[in-house]
Amino acid sequence: MKNRRKSTLLLVIFAALALCLVALAGALMASGAGIADFTRKNLPPGWGHLFGTDWMGRDMLGRTLAGLSLSIRIGALTALLSGGLSLALGTACAVFGGWVDGCISWIVDLVMGIPHILLIILISVACGRGFWGVTLGVVLSHWTSLARLVREETLQLWQAPYIRMARQLGASQGEVFRKHLAPHLFPQFLTGVILQFPHAILHEASVTFLGFGLSPEQPAIGVILSESMGYLATGRWWLALFPGLSLVLVTALFAGVGERMRLLLAPASAQE
């Protein structure tokens, strides 16, 4: 029973369930999480409030879940958008070649040359911060490495005799892409998209923590963490510890799934 295919499948199912549960619970609790109740402020973790409460008497478990839920939704959206962007631009590079390739490759180098966090802050501020600012910032800074991978794979496939055969037998570029390229690109693409999740979530949290992302009234992990900084010195450790740990856990879950998928789908390690 100890084979990687089965254990990976179990892990993927478990992770997907856990993440869906968090996303769902957070979305349901989002409205209740913001309610202030000054009769129960600054409670340490206990049975009533597992993660404790803050200085306004808000339940930290609810706020954490709501924040994670928002992070997961932003992560999913950005992974999908940047995945689509890299697929389109990467294949365009390889198929059209010439100045199209030169242009897109130049943009890829340019974007990769700027540190991620700087680029995200710039784009987020330029787009007026908030949900769309963060999402666009992460999407526009994260498509490059996957686009480069897709470009190289497509270039190699485009030279393969069976694709040349299809072309000489009259298949159009669209048909070649649908019938021959897409099935070959899919494993790398899927892995790339899943591995983009943890990046997106961490960047969203860090940009928000620095104050350039989501607005303070939104239940975001970055907001919770940056607020809790002011209370750490007064001994309220639970305000930062539990939300921080949950963020690490969710990120690790995504990264683990992505890594397992990579090992399983890569030809060199698929049979181990």
Binding site: I163, M165, Q168, L169, G170, K179, P183
Partner: protein, 213 residues
């Protein structure tokens, strides 16, 4: 129809060294079976790629009835690849591969001995000879006027080889196709071809002509 190579020169972009082909010229007419024999490494396969339009020559031209090869749709010049396992998509069932350009003639499948049961399998489940027969069947489209056979029978046993060539010669006659048969098996070429060229006669022909003039 006439397929003509005029003074082709070609070098692969990654290699700075001498060009693979230098001043290669060749004329192939429909209804003709031209044999080309040369030791390995001279650029036979590269010449076939140029003739089929897979690569663009650095200098010189490939002409079909005086014009360039069509860029869209079914190409009247079809290359049959030396390694059939590279010429079929490993992720597609062979039925999809065979039907790439449309439904094949049932007579073609029968003539080549392609079994119906092969078509439900993936390329890795068939032998090289079986795959090659499917590749030949795939190229037998109504609009095809020239077949470039680049060492296509090297992986077949003698009986199958004989059967495939008998089929190809019959089809070439019936459809009035021109065949270019590339092999280093001189005896095979002598059995099959109406005309045989050595590599020396093909390469630098343009230059020697100029010298003679």
């Amino acid at each position: 129809m006439i397929l003509e190579a005029k003074d082709l020169t070609f070098r692969y972009p990654c290699r700075r060294a001498a060009p693979v082909l230098k001043g290669v010229s060749l004329v192939l007419r429909t209804g003709e079976r031209l044999g080309l024999s040369a030791p390995s490494g001279r650029g036979k396969t590269t010449l076939c790629k140029l003739l089929a339009g897979w690569e663009e020559p650095g200098r010189g031209q490939v002409m079909l009835d005086g014009g360039p090869l069509p860029r869209r749709g079914l190409c009247p010049v079809q290359l049959l690849w030396q390694h059939p396992e590279e010429a079929v998509d490993p992720l597609l069932k062979l039925r999809a591969t065979l039907y790439e350009a449309g439904q094949p003639d049932p007579g073609v499948l029968e003539g080549l001995g392609v079994r119906e049961s092969w078509l439900e399998r993936y390329p890795s489940e068939l032998s090289g000879g079986e795959l090659q027969r499917i590749c030949v069947a795939r190229a037998m489209r109504p609009g095809v006027r020239f077949l470039l056979c680049d060492e296509i029978s090297a992986m077949l046993d003698l009986v199958t080889q004989a059967r495939m060539w008998r089929f190809l010669l019959g089809q070439a006659e019936q459809r009035e196709m021109g065949l270019l048969i590339v092999s280093h098996d001189r005896a095979l070429l002598e059995r099959l071809c109406t005309r045989i060229l050595d590599w020396e006669e093909v390469e630098g022909l343009g230059e020697t002509r100029k010298v003679r003039q």
